[in-house]
C-alpha cells in the first residue's frame, strides 16, 4: 500500500476526492483485512462472542485464584472428597482433601468453610474445579490442535496448489480419502489405537484430532493460492529467477493466508467440542483430569436420576455451550464480513 501525497496546487483534487486518513494499523494489516477486523468489532453478535471468549481467557488465567489447588498436588487433577459413588448436592460441606479457600469466597458468601459449590460427581470429584480448570485444558488443547492443523494444512495446500498438475491431483485425492470417514469417527479410531501405546493422556486424542483435522485448511488455502498465483508480481518474480520455495513462502502465502488464519482462529471452539465429545465417549484422559467432556460422561451412569443430580449435566454443559457459542458468534459475524457481496461496504 503506497501513499500518494499530492504536492503543489491540489485544490482541484480536494474538490473531486474525499481523502481518508489511514492509521498505522490499517496500513499494517492492509485495507481489506482492516475492513474485516473492523466489521467484527461493529456487529453486536460478535461483540457478545468476543466478550464470552475474553471471559473464558480470564477464567483460564485466574484459575489458581478462583479455585486454588491443594499444595503439592497437580492442579489439573481435580480434588476428590472421598470415594463414595453417589454425587453430593451443591453446597455440601467439603470433608476430605480440602483445598485452600480462595480469597473471594469469604467476601462473597460470608462463610469460612469451603463447600462443593456446584456439587460433586460420581466418585466425589468437585464439579466446580472440573469446570474452572477444564477451561485451561480447553484452551490448551484447542490452541495446540488448531496451530498444528493449520501448519500442516497450509504447507500441504500451498505445495499442492503451487505445483499444480499431477502433483496437485494426487495430493488432493489424498485429502479426499482422508475426508471420507467422518472426522470424529476417524479421530476416535486413531485415539483408540494410540492410547495403549502412549498411555491415557491428552496426547493420543490431540494427535488423532490433528491427524484428521488439517484437510479443510489445505483445501481453503489451495483455492486462495490458485488465484494469487496468477497475479503479475508472481510472474515477475519467476522471470527474475527467484527460487520456487522463496516465491511460495515470501510472495504467495503471505498474500493468500489471511482468510485461512481467521477461520483457524475461530476453529478453537470446534476443536474443543470434538475433544469434549471424545472424552465424553470415554477416550482420552485419566479419570479425574480437569476436562469438560469427562465430567459430562459421569452423567451417563445417572440418567435415571438426573432429576436429582441435574448439576452434573447443567454446570459443565452450560460452561461448554457458552465457550463454543462465543467462538460461533464471532464466526457467524465473520462469515457475513467475508462474504464477497459485502466487499466495498463499510
Amino acid at each position: 500500500m503506497t501513499e500518494h501525497i499530492p504536492t503543489g496546487d491540489n485544490s482541484l483534487l480536494a474538490a473531486t476526492f474525499t481523502t481518508r486518513k489511514i492509521g498505522w494499523f490499517e496500513r499494517f494489516v492492509g485495507p481489506e483485512n482492516y475492513r474485516i477486523l473492523m466489521g467484527l468489532l461493529k456487529t453486536p453478535a460478535s461483540i457478545i462472542g468476543l466478550t464470552l471468549i475474553s471471559f473464558f481467557i480470564l477464567v483460564a488465567l485466574a484459575a489458581p485464584l478462583i479455585a486454588p489447588p491443594r499444595k503439592g498436588a497437580d492442579p489439573y487433577s481435580v480434588p476428590r472428597d472421598g470415594f463414595t459413588s453417589d454425587p453430593q448436592p451443591m453446597g455440601s460441606a467439603w470433608k476430605r482433601n480440602v483445598p485452600p479457600i480462595p480469597f473471594w469466597y469469604k467476601a462473597v458468601t460470608g462463610n469460612d468453610k469451603w463447600v462443593h459449590l456446584w456439587g460433586t460427581s460420581e466418585g466425589q470429584y468437585d464439579i466446580f474445579y472440573y469446570c474452572i480448570w477444564g477451561t485451561r485444558t480447553a484452551f490448551y488443547t484447542g490452541l495446540l490442535v488448531t496451530i498444528a492443523t493449520l501448519l500442516i494444512g497450509v504447507i500441504y495446500g500451498s505445495v499442492s496448489a503451487y505445483y499444480g498438475g499431477i502433483v496437485d491431483n494426487i495430493m488432493m485425492r489424498v485429502v479426499d480419502i482422508l475426508m471420507i470417514l467422518p472426522s470424529l469417527l476417524a479421530a476416535l479410531i486413531l485415539a483408540a489405537v494410540l492410547t495403549p501405546r502412549i498411555g491415557k493422556s491428552l496426547i493420543p486424542v490431540m494427535t488423532a484430532l490433528i491427524a484428521f483435522g488439517w484437510m479443510g485448511y489445505s483445501r481453503i488455502i489451495r483455492g486462495d493460492i490458485l488465484s494469487v498465483k496468477e497475479r503479475d508480481y508472481i510472474m515477475a518474480a519467476k522471470v527474475v529467477g527467484v527460487k520456487d520455495s522463496r516465491i511460495l513462502f515470501r510472495h504467495i502465502i503471505p498474500n493468500a493466508i489471511f482468510p485461512t488464519l481467521v477461520l483457524a482462529s475461530l476453529a478453537i471452539g470446534d476443536v474443543v467440542l470434538s475433544f469434549a465429545a471424545l472424552s465424553f465417549l470415554g477416550i482420552g484422559t485419566e479419570v479425574g483430569y480437569a476436562d469438560w467432556g469427562q465430567v459430562l460422561s459421569f452423567a451417563r451412569n445417572w440418567i435415571t436420576s438426573l432429576n436429582v443430580y441435574w448439576y452434573i449435566v447443567v454446570w459443565p454443559g452450560v460452561t461448554l455451550v457458552l465457550f463454543v457459542m462465543g467462538w460461533n458468534l464471532v464466526g457467524d459475524a465473520l462469515r457475513d464480513v467475508l462474504d464477497p457481496r459485502m466487499r466495498g461496504r463499510s
Binding site: 453478535a45 485425492r173 489424498v174 479426499d176 480419502i177 482422508l178 471420507i180 470417514l181 467422518p182 470424529l184 469417527l185 476417524a186 476416535l188 479410531i189 486413531l190 485415539a191 483408540a192 489405537v193 494410540l194 492410547t195 495403549p196 501405546r197 471452539g269 467440542l273 469434549a276 465429545a277 465424553f280 465417549l281 470415554g282 477416550i283 467432556g293 459430562l296 452423567a299 451417563r300 440418567i303 435415571t304 436420576s305 438426573l306 432429576n307 436429582v308 441435574w310 449435566v313 447443567v314 454443559g317 461448554l320 455451550v321 463454543v324 457459542m325 460461533n328 458468534l329 457467524d332
Partner: protein, 354 residues
C-alpha cells in the same frame, strides 16, 4: 452427463483403495498378536501358539503382503477354509463382544438404519420450513429469532443437548425413555411368532400388525430423532434462507407479483421450488452424514446401533472391531456420496457441464 458419471465412477476404486490403505496403516500400529484377531477367534495363550499363528497368517511379513492377505484372507491348505479377507465381508473377531465383527454389524446396523430413516423427514422439513419463514420475514422478528436459534443450536454439543432432553423428558417428566424398546416388548420381538421381514423394528411391527410395538419403538426414538435433527436444522435454515432470499430478488418473482398473483402463490409456487436446488444437495449429504454421525447420539441414548457399538469397542480398546466398523462406514459413505453426486448432476445441469 455420461462423461461426468464415468469420471465420478473412476474415482471410486481410488477412494476404496485409499480408505482400505488408511485403515490398514492404522492396523499396522498394533502388535502382531493383537492383529491376530483379524483371523482367529481367541487370543493365543502360549508362546508356541502365538508363533504358529503369526507364521500361518504372515503377520510378520512385509506390509504389502500383509495388506493383500488382509484383503483376500488366508486359505488353510488342509481344510480349504478361508479366514479373514475383508472383500469377502470377514472383518475379523470382536473380542469384546465375542462374535465376528460382521455379525455384530449385522445385528446392530438395522437399528441405526431405522433411526436414520425416521430422522430424515423431521430434519429436512422443519429445517426448510424455518429457512423459508426466516426469508419471508427478512430482518423481522421471526428472522432474528431463527438466527438466534441457529447460533444456539450449532453451539449445543449433541451430547449436552441429549443429556439435557433426557433429564427433562425422562428423569423429570417420565414421558420418554432411552433404549430401543420396553423390556417385555423386546422379549416379544425376539420370539419366532414375530417375523423379522426387514429387521427394522418399526417396519416389522407394522408388517406384523403389532402397532403397540411400533408406537413403543417410535416413543423410544423421539429423543434421538430430536437430537439428530436439531443440529441439522441450523444448517438447513441457513442454506434455505440465503437461497430463498436470493430467489425472491429475481425478476421473475417481481413479474409474478406484478401480474397480481397472491403472495402465497408467489412464494410457495414460484420462488420456493427454485430456491430448493442447493437444499437438495444439502439434504443428500445430511442423510449420508446421519448414518455416519450417530456415534454420540446412540451412546447418549443407549441405543443399540453401530455407533454405540463402535464407541464401546473403542473405549475398551478393541481396535480390530472399531476398524471393522470403519471399513463398513467408509464403504457406505463412498457409495452414498457417489449416488448423491450423480443425482445432483441429474437435478442440476450446471454440474454436468463443468
Amino acid at each position: 452427463m455420461t462423461t461426468f458419471i464415468i469420471r465420478r465412477l473412476l474415482l471410486v476404486p481410488v477412494l476404496l483403495f485409499g480408505v482400505t490403505m488408511l485403515i490398514f496403516l492404522m492396523l499396522q500400529l498394533l502388535s502382531p498378536v493383537e492383529r491376530s484377531a483379524l483371523y482367529v477367534r481367541d487370543f493365543p495363550k502360549n508362546e508356541k501358539a502365538i508363533e504358529g499363528i503369526i507364521k500361518r497368517y504372515g503377520l510378520d511379513k512385509p506390509f504389502y503382503e500383509q495388506y493383500w492377505r488382509w484383503l483376500v484372507g488366508v486359505v488353510d491348505p488342509m481344510t480349504h477354509e478361508r479366514s479373514g479377507g475383508i472383500v469377502f465381508g470377514d472383518l475379523g473377531y470382536s473380542r469384546t463382544s465375542s462374535q465376528p465383527v460382521s455379525e455384530l454389524i449385522k445385528n446392530r446396523f438395522p437399528n441405526t438404519l431405522d433411526l436414520t430413516i425416521w430422522t430424515i423427514a423431521p430434519m429436512i422439513l422443519v429445517g426448510i420450513w424455518l429457512g423459508v419463514q426466516s426469508a419471508i420475514h427478512h430482518n423481522g422478528f421471526i428472522d432474528q429469532a431463527a438466527r438466534m436459534f441457529s447460533i444456539i443450536g450449532t453451539s449445543f454439543p449433541t451430547f449436552v443437548f441429549g443429556l439435557m432432553v433426557l433429564m427433562l423428558f425422562y428423569a423429570n417428566l417420565h414421558w420418554l425413555s432411552p433404549g430401543r424398546l420396553s423390556d417385555d416388548l423386546m422379549r416379544q420381538v425376539s420370539l419366532s411368532s414375530f417375523h423379522r421381514y426387514t429387521s427394522l423394528i418399526t417396519f416389522d411391527a407394522i408388517l406384523n400388525g403389532r402397532f403397540d410395538i411400533f408406537l413403543d419403538a417410535i416413543k423410544h426414538m423421539i429423543l434421538p430423532i430430536l437430537t439428530l435433527s436439531y443440529i441439522n436444522w441450523a444448517t438447513f435454515l441457513r442454506v434455505t434462507r440465503s437461497s430463498m432470499l436470493e430467489t425472491l430478488r429475481m425478476e421473475y418473482v417481481t413479474t409474478a407479483r406484478a401480474k397480481g398473483l397472491a403472495e402465497r402463490d408467489v412464494i410457495y409456487k414460484h420462488a420456493q421450488p427454485n430456491a430448493m436446488i442447493p437444499v437438495v444437495t444439502l439434504a443428500g449429504f445430511s442423510i449420508v452424514g446421519l448414518l455416519a454421525g450417530v456415534t454420540i447420539t446412540e451412546t447418549v441414548f443407549n441405543y443399540p446401533g453401530i455407533g454405540s457399538a463402535a464407541a464401546r469397542a473403542a473405549v475398551s480398546l478393541d481396535v480390530v472391531t472399531v476398524l471393522g466398523f470403519a471399513i463398513f462406514v467408509g464403504f457406505i459413505l463412498i457409495v452414498a456420496n457417489l449416488v448423491v453426486d450423480i443425482l445432483y448432476a441429474v437435478v442440476d445441469p450446471r454440474v454436468r457441464l463443468s
